[in-house]
């Protein structure tokens, strides 16, 4: 049964050891970072990879990092040879990244007994930085071209044999609107990466080099077996589903189409028929993001037995039309592909799985992350700043129970920043944060309610909103009603109210407010008459 001779208990022990390395890296990163997005909201992931760059363990708070981390490690591997103490960094979405604010660090791990210059493993961290330059504070603008979104960092050696490349570090830090914060966050990432490398070295000592390699291989094989067993249970067939992003009238230019084919123990995601990449609002997803969203749905089907490793995805194949909305290329803007398009790809994939597995899959959740970035010059503190957060909404109702209200769904799971923490660092406050009753779709099991978060500005600022489901409602399943759409409102100091639509860049003055109302989840099952 096993292709690598490792007992059932050795497997479990190896999984515990490697997962604990990844978790420890994540813990260290979260606790020492400086920007709220990393330390409070935990928008980061850490992983351990084998010598071929295959992910063998991951501590993920954020599903969208799932399939995208291995791409980063494989890009970095092209920069071989490596030396002990090297740490590489990148954010280029077309070379291992996903969108520019996600900075990834990768370190090779060496061990005595391995061939000179040949890493036995890699460790990596990815964290969402609040600002990496570009045309709008927060680096999540409504843009048409990648360079408008911020500084692009191809894979480079930031630490060489233990020595920080001060010039490169200074260049990266200086290209942010909040250089001090970047310095702290990036240092925390480098420290967490180094920590991970030390821990994997210790495992190589404990299990022996060959023992560690055998464990890597066995873990990947185990992941593959789990997913094959799951897919074998799904009826063979071709299941088609489509949904839209709000590009063009009624989403005409935002169609994402999927044919999901299950055959035996394998699955094929074919996105043929999806619209071409777009100039609207950075909604292009790079292929790694699309893969992540599809992997996420597979993980959800598998339940708790699925390990967090890349072997799980061996039975999964893709057809991603080149230069489509779900497989964009340079020089397209991609910042919202990671956060919004990924949610719609998830909806489409779950919609298709719902056809394959009737009675198993919930209705659509809010289908957006409700991204808001706020930035400018804080005149009271005498410094520039940039702040980013995402806002929860309703989860879809499902066959078992009603959807949860006011919670992050699918591709994100970032915490909120405490309302009381914001004015300690920024010139704005949150004046309301509450559920919106009856915004979840009705049904036998209703969708969860969306919520409202209202910001009051005490200084001039630029506010960027990148949201979805302001026009097309999250769908219900099995006769359940769709959830309510969200709404973004600018309330000027004089009391005038303006619906600013799904995507907007706003200049606000002291006394102005922005009110974000998030969508409810779809309902499941018809209401009994």
């Amino acid at each position: 049964m096993t292709s690598v001779d490792l007992s059932a208990s050795d497997l479990a022990i190896a999984d515990a050891s490697l997962s604990s390395v990844a978790e420890e890296m994540g813990e260290a990163l979260g606790r020492t970072a400086f920007s709220p997005n990393i330390k409070e909201r935990r928008d980061h992931s850490c992983g351990v990879f084998d010598a071929a760059g295959q992910m063998v363990a991951q501590a993920a708070h954020i599903p969208v990092h799932l399939g995208a981390m291995p791409a980063a490690v494989r890009q970095v591997m092209e920069l071989a040879p490596f030396h002990p103490g090297d740490v590489l960094v990148l954010n280029d979405p077309f070379r291992g990244g996903t969108h520019l604010p996600d900075l990834t660090t990768v370190a090779p791990v060496f061990a005595p007994g391995a061939a000179e210059g040949e890493p036995i493993a890699f460790v990596a961290t990815r964290a969402h930085h609040a600002d990496v330059g570009g045309m709008a504070p927060g680096s999540m603008p409504v843009a048409t071209e990648l360079l408008q979104e911020g500084l692009v960092i191809p894979p480079i050696r930031l630490v060489e044999t233990g020595r920080l490349n001060e010039a490169a570090f200074a260049l990266i830090v200086r290209n942010s609107r909040a250089p001090e914060e970047r310095r702290g966050d990036l240092r925390a990432q480098l420290a967490a990466t180094a920590l991970g490398a030390r821990r994997v070295e210790a495992l190589a000592e404990r299990f022996g080099l060959e023992g560690l390699r055998a464990r890597f291989a066995a873990l990947l094989d185990h992941g593959e077996r789990v997913i094959r067993a799951v897919l074998a249970e799904v009826p063979d067939g071709r299941y088609e589903f489509e949904d839209r992003l709000e590009i063009g009238a009624g989403g005409a230019d935002g169609v994402i189409r999927l044919a999901l084919t299950v055959a035996g123990e394998e699955v094929h995601f074919d996105f043929t028929g999806t619209v071409p990449e777009t100039d609207a609002a950075s909604l292009n997803a790079v292929a790694a993001v699309t893969r992540s969203a599809c992997y996420y749905t597979v993980r959800c089907l598998a339940g708790p037995d699925a390990p967090a490793n890349e072997g799980c995805y061996r039975p999964v194949r893709f057809t991603l039309p080149d230069r489509s909305l779900v497989a964009a290329g340079p020089p397209r803007a991609v910042s919202a592909g990671n956060v919004e398009t990924s949610q719609r790809v998830t909806d489409v994939a779950l919609g298709a799985w719902a056809l394959a597995l009737p009675g198993r899959i919930p209705a659509a959740s809010q289908g957006t992350m409700n991204n808001i970035t706020i930035g400018g010059y804080d005149s009271a503190r005498g410094r520039p700043y940039a702040y980013y957060e995402t806002i929860a909404g309703g989860a879809g109702g499902g066959p078992l129970r009603a959807g949860r209200s006011g919670v992050h769904t699918h591709m994100t799971n970032t915490m909120n920043t405490p309302v009381e923490a914001l004015p300690l660092a920024y010139p704005f406050t949150v004046e309301a944060y509450a559920l919106l009753p009856h915004t979840g779709g009705a049904g036998r099991h209703a969708g969860g309610d969306g919520l409202v978060r209202e910001y009051l500005f005490h200084d001039r600022a630029t506010v960027t909103l990148v949201t979805e489901r302001r026009e097309l409602r999250p769908w219900g399943v099995a006769g359940g009603a769709p959830g309510s759409v969200g709404r973004n409102t600018l309330i000027r100091a004089d009391g005038s109210r303006h619906d600013v639509g799904a995507r907007a860049q706003l200049q606000v003055e002291p006394g102005d407010r922005v009110r974000v109302e998030t969508p409810g989840g779809g309902g499941w099952g018809a209401l009994e008459a």
Binding site: A8, L11, A28, F34, L195, H222, G303, G406, E420
Partner: protein, 659 residues
């Protein structure tokens, strides 16, 4: 102190440790979950004593939360924030679960009220309560059926004035509700945690006050003058304080256990220990580096609370954890558990193969059965339960060995969290196992982490009752200040000093004892970070060493520090303490360790003949080489080959590697 009684009320047993005229007695009886105080009273009657002081570890508050039997609680918030507790931190606990269960909210939607008062971030008041508003809201809460009310307004940590308006209105209006104010219960910034803590305090308040009032009355009728309750941080409080701040008792039992283990180890000469309390369904570990460590927050059930607790790391695995082969052919142990009912297969009722069954199959529980032989082991039943695992293994015994190995790995991971992950080297620590299953796994764990020594306490079954007797009387007070720690700025330093003196004064006042010692501490972080490390300071007027201590602690915990970066004081803390100075019990020496039987045990794939010893027989100085099994009423110790167990003067078994 003439007569002194420590009592720990657990889920299954209520344990008593009685000191009378310089001698001690132990008593154990079944708990009475419908009224936990009944077992306490019955125990005192059975012991036929009138203790002057009873110190009590209790799970009343925790169980009220876990079983959702707390009071109907109303919450009053700033307008626009009524759903704060439902939204929480807006995250889901299991990211790949498409339909996670939503915990029922602590405060029902019809019991959420908003007030018009607004406090600014700096504590100044933007809008005061409208005249009569507080009384009106309290009346509305009562009309809606609330027995308890929590008031938590945004930024109230910076100014308690508005919230105090509700206390005045309650007093004036004669409202019969249990009222908690966030500015008193948890005056720290971060609204979700502060509000949750305040709401929990109100939720368990009526249950806890009624329980303590009833127990106190029962004790008074029997001549007992004083009742103290162990708090989550290992210090004791009187009934009045425990009734008003029940949220401080959420970890009462586990903290008393760690304190008991630490005091026993300290008396034996070991101050650097890792406690390992492995029970049926969960395991608690804590690292004590010269003292019992505390942290500032805890999660009970689905709810977070900001309250000082002994820093125990809990994993949901124990002797009752069920083993299975997963879809991909890997062996998994837990998280499903056979619990106490039906329990492991070898106890006679369960069907599933648990960790305890694996130990039984390997012969490590001895042949005579558990609880001093009064409970027989059905090894055949354990063997049958192992059948589903056969596929991946040669036979049942190798499957059992694998289950124990995976369990050890899971426990090792828990121990790494409290040691390696926090910058401590386990090779410098003594492992102190207790709980029913702890001493069975200790040698394997110590080997995995290269720990030099294991200390199995003389009376591992009553450590929490023993810890209750050892507990100092303490009161802790905290307040968020959010100031820079600028050693060159005299005005800032004096403000931090003033705040420290303020909380110190409150803590001393709570104890109202001239013998109280006060310690001061600061929660510090690099300006811009979000997590704090707690650093003790010698006095409010001497903060010079705090910065240095913080850099060093940051370096230890996270492997880096930045001596140039500005430091921020987030909270000031003070603990007032009246030391207990109570003695530690030493069991009477036995007649000498002599094997009562030989039995087959399997260790590292080999079947060996091991001597079985009764723990009561040990005298200080007795040495028993592994492989050996030492049985006693509430636990079994496996001395693996290569280890030797020595009975120390305190009656503890000290296991070290034989040379």
């Amino acid at each position: 102190m003439s007569t002194l009684l420590g009592v720990d009320v657990g889920g299954t047993f209520t344990d008593f440790l009685l000191w009378q005229d310089g001698a001690f007695r132990i008593h154990k009886r079944p708990s009475t979950p419908d009224d936990p105080g009944r077992a306490v009273i019955e125990g005192i009657e059975a012991l036929k004593v009138t203790p002057g002081l009873v110190v009590h570890g209790t799970t009343v508050a925790t169980n009220a939360i876990l079983q959702r039997r707390g009071a109907r609680t109303a919450l009053i918030t700033t307008a626009g924030f009524r759903d704060l507790l439902t939204i929480g931190r807006q995250v889901r606990p299991a990211i790949y679960d498409l339909e996670p269960e939503t915990p029922a909210p602590l405060v029902a939607p019809d019991l959420r009220f908003e007030c018009s008062a607004r406090i600014r971030p700096d504590g100044s008041i933007e809008a005061a309560l409208a005249p009569g508003e507080a009384a009106r809201l309290l009346a509305a809460a009562e009309a809606a059926g609330a027995e308890a009310v929590a008031v938590s307004l945004l930024f109230a940590y910076a100014n308690p004035e508005v919230e105090q308006g509700f206390a005045r209105a309650a007093a004036e209006g004669g409202h019969d509700v249990f009222l908690s104010l966030s500015s008193e219960v948890s005056p720290e910034y971060r609204e979700v945690e502060r509000t949750a803590t305040t709401a929990l305090n109100s939720y368990v308040g009526p249950v806890m006050s009624r329980y303590l009032a009833r127990l106190g009355e029962g004790l008074r009728e029997r001549g007992v003058r004083t009742l103290h309750v162990v708090q989550s941080d290992g210090g004791a409080a009187d009934v009045e304080r425990a009734s008003r701040r029940p949220v401080t008792t959420l970890l009462s039992g586990p903290s008393a256990g760690v304190l008991g283990a630490f005091e026993v180890a300290r008396a034996a000469g070991f101050e650097q220990i890792v406690t390992f309390d492995m029970g049926g369904t969960s395991t608690d570990v804590a690292l004590c580096d010269g003292h019992v460590p505390t942290r500032a927050d805890v999660v009970v059930g689905d709810f977070p609370a900001r309250t000082p607790v002994v820093d125990v790391h809990t994993v949901g695995a124990g002797g009752g954890s069920i083993a299975r082969i997963d879809m991909g052919g890997a062996l998994r142990v837990g998280p499903e558990s056979a619990g106490a009912d039906p329990g492991p297969a070898c106890y006679g009722a369960g069907e599933a193969f648990t960790v305890t069954d694996a130990q039984a199959l390997l012969g490590r529980l001895g042949a005579a059965g558990l609880l001093g032989g009064s409970m027989a082991l059905d090894v055949g039943r354990a063997r049958t339960a192992a059948a589903p695992l056969r596929e991946g293994f040669r036979d049942e015994v190798s499957a059992a060995e694998a289950v124990v190995a995976v369990t050890t790995a899971n426990m090792e991971r828990a121990l790494r969290v409290v040691s390696v992950q926090r910058g401590h080297d386990p090779r410098e620590f003594t492992l102190v196992p207790f709980g029913g299953a702890g001493p069975l796994h200790a040698c394997a764990l110590a080997d995995a982490l290269e720990m030099p020594r294991i200390l199995v306490p003389a009376m591992p079954g009553v450590l929490a009752a023993l810890g209750a007797v050892q507990a100092d009387l303490t009161a802790t007070r905290t307040r968020s200040v959010l100031l820079p720690l600028d050693l060159l700025d005299a005005s800032v330093l004096s403000e931090v000093g003033r705040a420290l003196r303020g909380v110190a004064g409150e803590a001393s006042a709570a104890l109202d004892d001239p013998a109280a010692e006060v310690t001061h501490a600061l929660d510090l972080r690099y300006a811009g970070q979000s997590y704090e490390l707690t650093v003790e300071v010698t006095s409010p007027s001497d903060l010079a060493l705090a910065a240095e201590a913080f850099h060093a602690l940051h370096e230890q915990r996270f492997a880096h520090s930045d001596r140039q970066a500005p430091i921020e004081v987030v909270n000031v803390r003070a603990v007032a303490r009246v030391r207990s100075h109570n003695p530690l019990p030493v069991p009477p020496p036995g007649a000498g360790a002599r094997p009562s039987a030989q039995t087959e045990v399997v260790v590292n794939g080999r079947s060996l003949s091991a001597a079985v010893y009764a723990r009561e027989g040990f005298r200080p100085g007795d040495r028993v080489p592994g492989p050996a099994i030492v049985t006693q009423l509430d636990t079994t110790t496996l001395v693996e080959p290569g280890w030797v167990a020595t009975c120390d003067p305190g009656g503890n078994l000290v296991l070290e590697r034989s040379r």
